[in-house]
């Protein structure tokens, strides 16, 4: 693989160049919350303090709320207008876990139908990865076979190797962004070796582990074990943090809002943790809390593996570190009995 490098001091120059052609999104710290927002062009200090965002990158393609269509009744008929999205953008600083999550929801929004709202943003976005040099104590990406220095699903991968950032060119789109011979140099053998060594040392920093081997079938076998799920759900308060902030959760709700003769149709994030989830056709089929908790776990580790062949969890740990009651999915998964030991339906 071709590797290049840039001195950290020159990163600002590079971002300045990109900013001319793209809407450039970088990690921003505001009100003690790390978020992804338009770069103000001031500095690149985030490279040192940034760990990961609260809101995952899905929000760039599937915003918490968006207008799908607006309509107005006029004399000669109804006028419809579909908003146009899809400004060319670069997201700089996506961690390997989150890069995987983008690939997972790409599948969701293209597999059975093509979601034009999602794709108009997604197709116009270049994703630039940044190796994770400071995993949280809630992170368990390595259990999902993700390395903190992982180049999958990004256009370029930047890795902090000290004074320089190592750049791995992954896609042609990414490669095209590096045409700055005075600041971007060819990486030496020593540089790439440093990057290689980080694969082991950073993976060792991910201390939380969970064995997810055969989880799809283990969950299938204990699906009707009400006692297990009631215990797993006992302390859950049923808020939307773990699902809204999960990088692979994608459920949305659609609502029309009207005022006299005009209005709009919106979609907004929805969560299977909510009691009012899917109440619009009739009622939520998962009346009790434990059924909703089971849905959340099984959707990630049983249903999507069965339907799309992918585990919808990246071990980013948001659901653990942001949970109001420290509901910890790794503890629940660890408690799922081996297939043979599963109790039968009660």
């Amino acid at each position: 693989m071709n590797s290049k490098k840039i001195n950290k001091k020159d990163l600002k120059k590079l971002l300045d160049t990109w900013r001319r052609d793209f809407n450039l999104i970088v990690p921003v710290l505001e009100n003690e919350v790390i978020t992804m927002d338009v770069w103000d062009g001031k500095d690149t200090a985030f490279i040192d303090w940034y760990r990961n965002t609260v809101v995952p990158p899905k929000a760039n393609f599937l915003p918490p709320g968006e207008k799908m269509i607006s309509f107005e009744k006029k004399k000669d008929g109804i006028v419809l207008e579909i908003p146009r999205n899809g400004q060319r953008q670069i997201i700089f600083g996506v961690r390997p876990c989150d890069a995987r999550s983008i690939a997972i929801i790409d599948d969701v929004f293209t597999e059975t139908y093509e979601d034009t709202y999602y794709l108009s943003r997604r197709n116009n976005t270049i994703v630039i990865g940044l190796s994770c040099n400071s995993p949280y104590d809630s992170c368990f990406c390595t259990s999902l076979n993700i390395n903190p220095v992982e180049s999958a699903h990004v256009d370029l991968l930047f890795t902090d190797i000290g004074d320089d950032l190592l750049i791995e060119e992954i896609t042609e789109r990414g490669k095209g962004l590096l045409n700055m011979p005075d600041t971007i140099k060819k990486a030496t053998k020593a540089d790439t070796e440093k990057g290689q060594a980080l694969k082991d040392s950073l993976a060792a920093k991910v201390t939380k582990q969970v064995n997810v081997k055969d989880m799809e079938h283990r969950l299938q076998a204990c699906f009707n074990d009400r006692e297990f799920w009631e215990k797993a759900a006992a302390k859950c308060i049923g808020c939307g943090i773990c699902t809204f902030l999960c990088p692979t959760c994608f459920c949305f709700d659609i609502n029309d809002e009207m005022l006299k003769k005009q209005g709009a149709r919106y979609r907004s994030w929805d969560s299977c943790s909510f009691k009012a989830y899917t109440r619009m056709p009739m009622e939520n089929p998962r009346e009790e809390r434990w059924r909703r908790v089971r849905q959340k776990v099984c959707h990630k580790y049983q249903f999507l593996p069965a339907n799309l062949g992918v585990t919808a969890c990246t071990g980013c740990g948001r659901c653990i570190r942001l949970c109001p009651v420290n509901w910890d999915i790794t503890q629940v998964l660890a408690g799922v009995p081996q297939k043979e030991a599963a109790r039968s339906a009660k």
Partner: protein, 316 residues
């Protein structure tokens, strides 16, 4: 203290006085605790008392069946009493194990003081009015007032007001209302248009995860106006105006029930300073109705009763 707590919890289960104990256990991450809800005596040894026992466990009494033993700090006990006043919980159905509380550590404050994130801090110990922190092998001491939650600094009743047994001795309140309400005083000083801009900015971040509502023992409604669709009182789409209206209505709904436990603000993943609203309402209730929530289980809920003293300045 923990030994005594476990002894009491064990006794309650053993005697069959309760079929379930709700308390705090060590969390899976550094400086976290997690609610322990169990009827299993073997799990009682996991019960802890800690400066990180943030959760207001009264929340778990709502729609719970059977008889429950519950660990309660001062604010939690007031929430329980408030639920009793609202007839959501029967006094006979709970055994309150009171735990006097010297204040909880606000990790966000500690993070900004140390410049480190929670999991990069090695150890935190609270001793009297000092909090000592271990960072890179070195110890550093901070006055507790810099590290405890704002709501703990302004707590009037750190010792439970209602209990069946009390673990340890009552503790004195810090009751530093000036420090506790400094942020409220600051926004009151703002020009109205600046204050409006401030709230617009804060509520622009809201993603409507409803953690503030779900964690709140005073928010016990089975159906919330926020999800009603005929009509839509507020739009389900997160926009700052609707987010703000949601929180304002919620604040009014919990007026006279809120014990200023601070959970709504602590759990907000977007760090929206919700206590600026809830504590202001708490103080307004005190000022207008001479009422403090959750102090008397036999009193009618604030909004269901009228007394002549309320007339001053209220009805014009």
């Amino acid at each position: 203290m923990e030994k005594e707590l476990r002894k009491q919890a064990n006794r309650l289960l053993e005697e069959g006085t309760v079929d379930c104990i709700i308390g705090h256990a060590q969390g899976s991450l550094k400086f976290t605790t997690t609610p322990l809800i169990t009827g299993d005596k073997t799990e009682i040894s996991n019960l802890i008392i800690s400066p990180f026992m943030h959760n207001n466990l009264a929340n778990y009494l709502i729609r719970r069946h059977g008889k429950t033993g519950i660990v309660a700090k001062g604010c939690d006990s007031r929430s329980i009493v408030s639920l009793i006043q609202d007839k959501q919980v029967s006094r006979d159905a709970v055994v309150i194990i009171g735990v006097p509380c010297s204040g909880l550590v606000d990790m966000a404050k500690l993070e900004s003081l140390t410049g480190k994130v929670r999991d990069q801090i090695e150890a935190v110990t609270v001793a009297g009015d000092k909090v000592s922190v271990k960072l890179n092998g070195k110890k550093k001491e901070y006055p507790a007032r810099q590290v405890l939650f704002d709501h703990c600094l302004g707590c009037e009743f750190p010792t439970p007001q209602e209990y069946d047994c009390l673990i340890g001795e009552p503790v004195a309140a810090i009751n530093d209302t000036e420090l506790s309400s400094k942020k409220i005083a600051d926004i009151k000083k703002m020009a109205p248009q600046d204050r409006w801009a401030f709230w617009q900015k804060q509520f622009s971040r809201c993603i409507r995860c409803y953690a503030c509502r779900e964690v709140c023992p005073a928010c016990f409604c089975e159906r919330c106006f926020a999800e009603e669709s005929q009509p839509h009182w507020i739009s389900p789409v997160p926009q700052w105006q609707d987010n703000l209206v949601f929180q304002v209505i919620r604040t009014i709904h919990v007026a006279g029930r809120c014990s200023d436990c601070g959970e709504c603000e602590r759990v907000c993943p977007q760090h929206i300073p919700l206590r600026l609203l809830s504590r202001e309402m708490y103080d307004l209730i005190d000022e207008m109705f001479h009422y403090k929530s959750g102090m008397d289980k036999n009193a009618p809920p604030l909004m269901t009763a009228y007394e002549m003293v309320e007339a001053e300045g209220l009805i014009r």
